[in-house]
């Protein structure tokens, strides 16, 4: 897909242009190129997964900082510089990935707003997957939608049915959607299909599976969506 093209050159430019060592909380040093790679994978995972995934907003913030640094350096370099133009283009590309990632999440939050914000013991705790800003947004969105439904319809309905059943009568993601995934870390004896025997997953292999079957593997990074 178009989005996958030229990841190599982005990494090259990042490695050249800025102080590329970043310290993570655990004291592990990561290059900007690695952060970008992780962000791109997070972006693809989010794009193909039917439900909202864990927020990787720290990767976003890191890349935004990188962009700021690059833009500062470019200001000093002056205009009309060919290398500068290339860097500006790469900045736009990184912006595109960030923007797309956040937008995909926002669309899911809007689509499944009630389901996400409704506390319940027998489903995933989506609230923990929201960034602080997303949490505020989701709350406001839910309230805005509910107010509209109330003022145009519910408030004028008979008393015993004038509320929205947020557990049953709201959009929920289809966790059984089929999607393509590739194996990053080999796994033993995984049941990909209830009709088949469990198989070992080899590194690099690609499969078409139901999301529900691999959601936990996705969470711990053993597989990635493509």
């Amino acid at each position: 897909m178009a989005e996958n093209k030229e990841r190599g050159s982005l990494s090259d430019i990042l490695n050249d242009s800025v102080d590329s060592e970043i310290n993570e909380d655990e004291g592990e040093e990561v290059t900007a190129a690695e952060v970008l790679e992780r962000l791109e994978q997070a972006w693809l995972n989010e794009k193909f997964a039917p439900e909202l995934l864990e927020s990787k907003v720290e990767l976003v913030e890191c890349m935004l900082d990188q962009i700021k640094e690059m833009e500062e350096n470019l200001k000093e370099a002056g205009k009309g510089d060919l290398v500068g133009s290339l860097h500006r283009l790469e900045i736009q590309r990184i912006r595109y990935v960030i923007s797309s990632y956040l937008k995909i999440r926002l669309k899911k939050i809007e689509k499944y707003a009630f389901h996400i914000m409704e506390p319940s013991n027998d489903k995933t705790d989506y609230i923990s997957r929201l960034s602080a800003e997303e949490h505020v947004y989701a709350k406001e969105y839910c309230k805005n939608v509910e107010d509209l439904l109330k003022s145009l319809a519910l408030d004028d309905m008979p008393p015993n049915i004038n509320s929205l059943d947020k557990k049953k009568s709201v959009p929920q993601p289809n966790l059984d959607s089929y999607l393509f995934m590739k194996v990053l870390q080999p796994q033993e004896q995984v049941e990909l299909d209830p009709d088949d025997q469990p198989t070992d997953l080899e590194e690099g292999a690609q499969h078409l599976v139901r999301y529900s079957v691999i959601s936990s593997l996705l969470e711990n990074g053993a597989v990635a969506l493509t």
Partner: protein, 212 residues
């Protein structure tokens, strides 16, 4: 032939997922042949074929699926239901004979969707219904994928095929044509062309005709 374990993994999705979905609402309007088992007071006017004040037991009426489902859901069944004729054995055999030739749009644009909903009535014929739905879908899908993935719009075969598609098949067809279109655009190097959205284009068209 119909193995129970094949349908063991069939699950009815919680209906909340589609609560606001317009197509699901329309699919639930499909008529189901019903027979009333008890009397229903004061609602005789719903039965167009009778002048009586009440709906009497043994009255046969076609009710929309959303109503038939609720009236079956209690322990004391108010109605008993039959399969609509296009899901009965006679039609199932037609589908088995030549699935690709059948006009599913005529049989009800939501053929698969309603078929799936019928399974909720726990009819003894359910395994057969499920089997027919799946076989029909698979056979037709092969032809559909062939046509939609190879040629954009215009092909004569597509023109004859399209009006006979059920609603879900239409969506699959449109979706893969869209994919094909994007691939063509990518080949021509125009995929990254920035565009107005369809909504904006339509609104400007309307405005221009209004201003003239």
């Amino acid at each position: 032939m119909a193995d129970d374990s094949l349908y063991g993994s069939l699950q009815v999705r919680p209906s909340g997922w589609d609560y606001f979905e317009l197509d699901d609402i329309l699919a639930c309007q499909e008529k189901i042949p019903c027979t009333f088992e008890t009397q229903v007071k004061d609602l005789g006017f719903l039965d167009h074929g009778s002048d009586s004040e009440h709906i009497e037991p043994a009255t046969k009426m076609e009710l929309p699926f959303w109503l038939a489902k609720e009236l079956c859901a209690r322990q004391r069944k108010i109605i008993s239901v039959e399969l609509p004729k296009v899901y009965r054995e006679a039609y199932r055999q037609i589908l088995e004979a030549d699935a690709t030739a059948v006009d599913l749009n005529k049989l009800g644009p939501y053929f698969y969707s309603v078929g799936g909903k019928l399974l909720e009535f726990g009819n003894a014929e359910n395994p057969r219904i499920a089997e027919t739905l799946m076989m029909t879908y698979m056979k037709r899908m092969r032809r559909l994928m062939d046509l939609s993935l190879n040629k954009l719009d215009g092909s004569k075969e597509s023109q004859t095929l399209l009006p006979k598609l059920d609603h879900d098949e239409h969506n699959v067809f449109a979706f893969s044509q869209e994919g094909l279109r994007e691939f063509e655009q990518w080949k021509q190097g125009v995929i990254s062309k920035l565009t107005s959205s369809k909504t904006v284009i339509n609104q400007r068209k309307r405005k221009r005709t209004e201003d003239n």
